[in-house]
Symmetry: C2
Subunit: 345 residues, 2 copies
């Protein structure tokens, strides 16, 4: 029921997925009267409707929504997985509610203080390479240890989902030298250097789009702002290009010739087409697809989810976290949020 193009595109994505994968069954959680009429062409017995009468809207306050709507598709789907009737839960819905519900249903992996959100990013200059950034907006006040945890989780993810043997992990910072950055970044640099990961050091925001690393780690506040800067700048730049092209007859003529090329260049930026990413740090597997996902993004999200299950993402993460060198506890930050401890951007 979640996402801007639900339920039609979600159901269509499921149809594409089950047509292609004969070994994985899918449960569609939501209002039966809405979902059943859409299941026409599905192979018999492969797609089950799991009834949930309520829907969490994007405008709902995440933590409240999960508690107040226990029969929502998110809450019901998570309970199904928790009860062992499913291996993973995928949603295009309210990210915050999914995180709150996932925390409530599964708890955290040992060693994780706060979960994180991640997103694949395109490497604009060399299209085949993709990199991954976390946290993009779950943990607003990350400690150095949190950042180190995210590096471990991101590294396991890059290995299992992106097929990188030994993923290079970097810390987003204002300069490449170890002494650069705020107090948290300086401390995180130290922890990462001693983490046993393939730590590539600090990376500046101007370097990330040239894709020299596989995983970029940052605070959820900073990550969310970078993500939205990219969106905002891309939209503004597309507008500026359009204005300049349309300002005269030569530009208008040229625009007819280069329209599809420009569109392709801008589309390299569109990280929403990449089929989602798991919530990092939960003890159960929840994959979040972008709210604007179409059928292709949903079916690619389902393939990703299936692969993460079969490749054992969660056990691999638990092992990697246990292997992290133990450190004396760091001082916690002064004021911890009173709420559930996370916040979607």
């Amino acid at each position: 029921m979640g996402g801007e193009r639900a339920p039609e595109c979600v159901v269509e994505g499921v149809a594409r997925f089950v047509a292609d994968d004969r070994a994985t069954d899918v449960g569609l959680v939501g209002r039966p009267e809405v979902l059943r009429p859409l299941l026409g062409g599905m192979p018999r017995g492969r797609v089950e409707v799991i009834p949930a009468t309520e829907v969490i809207e994007d405008a709902d306050q995440p933590a409240l929504a999960v508690r107040r709507k226990p029969d929502s598709s998110i809450a019901v789907g998570l309970s199904e997985v928790k009860a062992g009737r499913g291996d993973a839960f995928l949603s295009c819905g309210n990210t915050g509610a999914l995180m709150a519900g996932g925390l409530f249903a599964f708890g955290r992996l040992p060693g994780v203080r706060r979960p994180a959100l991640g997103s694949p990013f395109p490497d604009l200059v060399h299209p085949p390479h993709r990199w991954f950034m976390l946290d993009i907006g779950a943990n607003m006040d990350a400690t150095a240890t949190d950042l180190c945890t995210y590096a471990v989780l991101g590294s396991v993810y890059a290995r299992l989902a992106m097929g990188v043997e030994r993923p290079r992990v970097a810390l987003l910072n204002v300069g490449t030298e170890p002494h650069k950055g705020n107090e948290v970044a300086k401390k995180a640099h130290e922890l990462l250097r001693d983490s046993g990961l393939e730590f590539a050091g600090n990376i500046e925001a101007r370097q990330v789009f040239a894709g020299p690393v596989d995983v970029v780690v940052c605070d959820g506040f900073v990550g969310n702002i970078v993500l939205k800067s990219v969106e905002g700048l891309a939209a503004a730049l597309a507008g500026a290009i359009r204005e300049e092209l349309m300002a005269g007859p030569v530009g208008r003529a040229g625009a007819l010739l280069v329209r599809s090329q420009l569109r392709r260049a801008m589309r390299r930026l569109d990280y929403t087409a990449y089929g989602g990413a798991p919530l990092f740090g939960l003890a159960g597997l929840c994959v979040k697809c972008h709210g604007s996902s179409g059928a292709e993004a949903v079916s690619s999200g389902l393939r990703l989810t299936r692969d993460l299950v079969s490749r054992g993402l969660l056990p691999a993460m638990a092992t990697a976290l246990a292997d992290l060198p133990r450190r004396p506890a760091e001082p916690t930050r002064p004021a911890e949020p009173a709420g559930p401890g996370w916040q979607p951007g």
Copy 2:
């Protein structure tokens, strides 16, 4: 002596400035044997060479450089202003050294805990409007009070330098609701709401490029990362557009027609051409121009500096800071940097 195109472009910028402004004299600080031969066409008596034998390089550690090179152009220039033989100092050199030297020479305005750096940004969609962001990289661990101070300083600057009667100030954040963001941002939102400024609330990074406000306030860590994201994304996107256009004959033909339009669109992003910005919070006027400034940027930086002096930027800032409602002291953050307390990005 500072900047990538010094001394030629700096001297040429001075020449253009004094040709245009007959009431303002300029002292050029640096190596006389290098500068004197470049002064050929200058009007007599308007441009004085102030000898300084040392040069702080961009690679120098800022705080050390100012102490170890007391006869550097930055140190000598600042002393001249401190001694009352000048009203303001402009530099295209090492930002960190300028900040360290400026702090040492002038100290801070009352009420300022840590100075900030600012930069004008283009509003890509409606070219005539420019907005201003601070801090872009001086104060890596800003408190909520620091952010409120920057809002006051930025607001005075927007009024005197950009001519905005009642500047709209916003707080860069991950969402527009007051409860969004990290602990510092939440607290800063409260302080700004009660500050008496024209506070437009939180602004998301995707909105800033559409220019709905005049001043955007953020932590130096976040601001520097946003600035560099913009640079990195613009460069990567320009590369992607070039690749797509050059991939086929139609694109190549179209590219010939639209080259100048695309260049104009990308140039709207080029905030380095805007003639610099003062260091915010110092008790003396230091204007920093971008290291890659050409003659036009230098002469526009000089015009800006002259205007900031004649319009009384520093007294106006001092007054505005004194007018800020008094607040109980906020808890300081756990670990303060041991160094001079600022860091260039």
